[in-house]
């Protein structure tokens, strides 16, 4: 661990990728994450890396596809409307099984929406965005430090599964400055990609060509391909669930599910309520796919727990997954706001008090 330094989330994300051993970055500017590109346009040349500002997010998505298919570690950062444009490429990349890292610093939507923090891209990231049966491994940081650590973990995970990984932040994570340190032990070496990457036959000393593609015209082959992809997603469900439990030891009367920036506000609310003598438990999913399904089911099933609430900066997206986990055993409600105004701890405390017993 180095010394703690004060960094803006966007810059820390760029630096974390370099520290993780990724020296290739393609991007298109969009608020509220353009600082990543500005930072890396200076930093990449210093470390002998690649920086390129593409002509559109559409093109950038395919620059990542080409580079990762050729065996390189590569990433991009964008924000909601830009990620919509990249979603085509993400589908192809998942289909062709290439490891890439995408960062979405979410802003409000739909359409141009606004530039302030939002969590309105939960469905886009977790349920699809692009076409076809694919999943991304999605991690949602709640602090600049966690964004750094997730960035650094993202590359080996993308390579382990040969699948896109998304870091889902929001405008506040990108714009806020917090102390960070870059853990040396999260630096990893790229894996050997000779078995599949189009890195040139000479490079891997082989006379067998490699193909990177997502086209399977034969129905049986396409079905088998999708079964193979599904097996990877199932493995993620078994091996990659990450979450933070908070105040789950006592007899809590309500369970809060919240992630990212919103979860920090909820945590403060839970602490304040505890000081007032009201016990509320909380689970903060750190991975949104895979989702901490069993953990939520178990926590919601505790006898003292009368209800469950999903609190998110969207009009009720994650709540559908929470309902799926709770399976009707407890009433599940939603509270949230869009538009950029993040609910305050006082507001959350009020909502919890009103709904505490379901």
């Amino acid at each position: 661990m180095g010394k703690k330094i004060l960094m803006k989330g966007n810059e820390a994300i760029g630096e974390a990728a370099i520290r993780a051993g990724c020296l290739n970055y393609f991007a298109y500017p969009i608020t509220p994450q353009s600082e990543v590109a500005e930072y890396l346009s200076k930093r990449m040349p210093e470390v002998g890396g690649v920086f390129l500002q593409g002509e559109s997010e559409v093109a950038v998505g395919y620059m990542l596809f080409g580079a990762s298919a050729a065996g390189a570690r590569v990433f991009t950062t964008s924000s909601s409307p830009g990620v919509s444009l990249m979603s085509e490429a993400i589908s192809y990349i998942a289909g062709a099984q290439c490891p890439c890292v995408f960062v979405n610093i979410i802003r409000g939507g739909p359409g141009l929406g606004g530039i302030l923090p939002s969590q309105g891209d939960y469905f886009q990231s977790v349920k699809g965005g692009g076409h076809g049966d694919y999943r991304m491994l999605v991690m949602a940081p709640a602090s600049v430090q966690e964004a750094v650590e997730m960035m650094m973990m993202a590359f080996p995970l993308a390579e382990k599964y040969r699948n896109p990984v998304m870091i889902l932040g929001d405008g506040l994570i990108g714009q806020m400055m917090e102390p960070v340190e870059f853990p040396d032990d999260l630096r990893t070496e790229p894996t050997d990609k000779d078995a599949w990457a189009t890195n040139g036959m000479e490079t891997r000393g082989s006379d067998k060509r490699n193909l990177v593609k997502s086209l399977y015209l034969d129905p049986e082959m396409l079905n088998n391909h999708n079964l193979h992809l599904k097996a990877k997603y199932d493995q993620m469900r078994r091996e990659e669930v990450r979450y933070e439990p908070f105040n789950l030891d006592g007899d809590y009367r309500m369970l809060v599910i919240s992630y990212g920036t919103m979860s920090r506000v909820c945590k403060t609310a839970v602490e304040n309520l505890k000081a007032e003598g009201l016990e509320v438990g909380m689970i903060r999913p750190q991975t949104l796919f895979p989702f901490p399904e069993e953990e939520i089911r178990e926590a919601a099933g505790k006898e003292s727990c009368k209800s469950v609430i999903s609190i998110e900066m969207s009009m009720g997206q994650m709540v559908e997954d929470v309902e799926r986990c709770v399976r009707g055993r407890r009433p599940v409600t939603w509270y949230g706001k869009c538009g950029g105004e993040v609910p305050t701890p006082e507001e959350i405390m009020q909502v919890i008090k009103e709904r505490i017993d379901g």
């Binding site: 004060l6 506040l172 806020m176 400055m177 917090e178 506000v265 305050t344 701890p345």
Partner: protein, 178 residues
């Protein structure tokens, strides 16, 4: 104990910078900090503000509606934010560009003509540092040595400016003491 300070003024007055310097100084003192800017079109010539949270514990919600303290560098930001300050906090007013009263009897109000002081020092651009010196001296939120060190670090690549900025800090301190 968590302290939140809101710095507000016109875009271009160096509002975000003094927030960052304060956050740096607190970090060097081993405290937990978060710096939250206003961003987007607000940055382009309109009003700008940032919030700095300083605490001895990890900072929970970075969303702060009612900051403990306010440094208002112009009239619109005083009018907009004075009512939000928690009772007992400090409101520092740049009385060169705003009325010297906030209308809040329940706060520690401090009016300093930071723009005029900076002009006298030879650079109106140092007004933000005068304000920072005055605020730190009054609040004791970090030590004066820490803020001096943090200002020097901020201007590390503009060494020529450091004597001026140090003097600006000092003038701020003196004004706060009066």
């Amino acid at each position: 104990m968590q302290h939140e300070v809101m710095f507000a003024g016109f875009g271009g007055q160096g509002i975000l910078m003094i927030g960052k310097i304060l956050a740096h100084a607190a970090l060097e003192e081993g405290r937990e900090v978060a710096w939250i800017p206003s961003y987007g079109p607000e940055m382009r010539g309109g009003t700008a503000y940032c919030l700095v949270a300083i605490s001895d514990r990890p900072i929970g919600s970075p969303i702060i509606k009612n900051p403990r303290h306010l440094v208002a560098m112009n009239r619109p930001s005083l009018e907009k934010f004075a009512a939000k300050v928690k009772p007992g906090g400090i409101i520092l007013i740049n009385s060169s560009l705003a009325p010297d009263k906030s209308g809040r009897p329940d706060v520690d109000e401090l009016a300093v003509p930071v723009t005029d002081i900076a002009k006298d020092l030879g650079s109106v651009r140092a007004a933000n540092i005068v304000a920072l010196g005055a605020f730190v001296a009054r609040s004791g939120i970090v030590s004066f040595e820490s803020i001096q060190a943090a200002v020097k670090e901020e201007f590390a690549e503009k060494q020529k400016l450091i004597p001026l900025e140090m003097e600006a800090l000092e003038k701020g301190r003196q004004a706060a003491a009066k």
